[in-house]
């Protein structure tokens, strides 16, 4: 049954990608891209990558789609007909595709336990991580402990991207420039329901943040889900009212604090006499030290991702509202 679901979902995914090529209405392209992300998340789930499915569903489908829609509101939704002939790209793509298909024939068969990928580092993670780190979720142990330095790099990349977007677009801080009642003000039912479910979303984000050690989830996903709650608030009630709740300046502080918390854990373990990000030094018992370390750095990741994603959204949304005023 799992194989059948895999076949069917991949076929639907290929169809969606094919349809996106021929659509000229960019609004529809972005909506189909949302479907594409959802489908690929279901495929990840079916291939046992629970955490990846979680991230793709929240980050890929949610944030990218919202940002693309915001861009379309600024750039217009019609793609003009291209004047180039599409012959040359088609030939290039077909030749490259044929070469790659030829290359796949040398790949190990799908799902074989004797594949080279499963021989080298993975057995250690699978067999030892419960003893060494003490968390049931191997993905979290590898992410936060074994490859903690790598994850620090990723968090810095997210932080840098937020700085990049803010320096390119900037958030309008003058309150007068924003209209008092933007957002979907005609939709009364939406106002009531949004007020009802936003607390539920934040609650769920906290659950994901702190349950990530035992089930799917963790800082990246929790940060995005918490940001999604405020994005929903902005979409329904307008940017001006959201600025009262979470101001852009506060977010800038939060984003840096998250990275600093992460890096400080590393420095603290060095101070205790271990290597950078060596959590065993954080407490007398190595396992307890690992637990403290992972909880704190996941919190740092969550705070940074939340602040970075929300400020990126603020930047786009303030552009949209400004262009709407003019």
């Amino acid at each position: 049954m799992a194989e059948f679901i895999n076949l069917a979902l991949l076929a639907l995914l290929a169809l969606t990608a094919l349809r996106i090529i021929f659509l000229k209405d960019l609004f529809s392209v972005v909506m189909l891209f949302g479907i594409y992300s959802f489908l690929s998340a279901s495929i990840f789930l079916n291939l046992d990558a629970v955490d990846v499915a979680f991230t793709e569903a929240s980050v890929g489908a949610g944030i990218s789609t919202v940002l693309m829609l915001g861009t379309l509101a600024l750039t217009g939704r019609k793609e003009k007909a291209s004047k180039h002939s599409s012959c040359l790209p088609l030939v290039v793509v077909c030749v490259t595709g044929a070469v790659l298909i030829y290359g796949t024939l040398d790949m190990p068969p799908f799902g074989d336990p004797n594949n080279p990928a499963h021989q080298h580092v993975a057995p250690r993670y699978i067999e030892e991580s419960l003893k060494e780190v003490g968390l049931p979720n191997m993905v979290t142990s590898v992410l936060a402990s074994y490859r903690g330095f790598d994850t620090l790099g990723e968090v810095v990349v997210v932080f840098a991207a937020a700085i990049g977007v803010l320096s390119l677009l900037g958030i309008r801080r003058q309150k007068d420039e924003l209209v008092a009642d933007t957002g979907l003000k005609e939709h009364r039912v939406l106002h009531v329901i949004a007020k009802l479910i936003i607390p539920l979303i934040i609650l769920f984000a906290l659950y994901v943040q702190f349950h990530g050690d035992f089930g799917p989830g963790g800082g990246f996903q929790a940060g995005v889900i918490a940001a999604a709650a405020f994005i929903l608030y902005t979409l329904v009630f307008g940017l001006k009212r959201t600025f009262v709740v979470v101001s852009p300046k506060f977010l800038a502080w939060m984003a840096s604090i998250g990275v600093l918390v992460y890096a400080c854990v590393g420095l603290f373990s060095m101070f205790k006499g271990g290597q950078f990000l060596d959590y065993n030094q954080l407490a007398a018992d190595p396992i307890a030290g690992q637990h403290y370390g992972i909880i704190i750095i996941e919190l740092g990741v969550g705070i940074t991702v939340f602040a970075a994603m929300l400020s990126i959204f603020y930047a786009f949304e303030s552009q949209v509202e400004r262009s709407n005023v003019q």
């Binding site: 992300s37 990846v52 693309m68 790209p89 068969p109």
Partner: protein
């Protein structure tokens, strides 16, 4: 049949990758190009996760009574790659917005002409 099942995932990955590639090189509109880039990117994610799957295995979260788990390493790599991917997408989209403001268009051939005029 088992030959097809063994390689089906890889073929779909190649197809998606080429679809994304085609959109990137043939589309005229910058937003559509970014959508193409994202499709390309997702196909790479799919390749990694396909490699990490073990038949009969289950998700790499320790539970009682399960001994065969899928490979957790590709999952970690892709999890962070997705978040970074969104960060780069956001940066690309903000560049598109700036291009629209500077040139008044996001169609590739149109602002190329304007560049010549300047």
């Amino acid at each position: 049949m088992s030959f097809v099942l063994d390689y089906y995932n890889y073929w779909v990955v190649v197809f998606l990758m080429m679809t994304g590639f085609y959109i990137v090189i043939s589309a005229n509109n910058l937003v559509k190009k970014i959508v193409g880039l994202n499709i390309f990117q997702t196909s790479v994610f799919m390749l990694y996760i396909t490699v990490g799957k073990v038949s009969g295995g289950t998700a790499p979260i320790v539970t009682e009574g399960v001994s065969l788990y899928s490979n957790p390493l590709p999952h970690v790599l892709i999890l962070t790659a997705i978040v970074v991917g969104v960060a780069t997408t956001a940066l690309g989209l903000s560049l598109v917005v700036r291009i629209k403001r500077a040139y008044g268009t996001v169609e590739e051939n149109e602002f190329e002409n304007k560049d010549d005029a300047i």
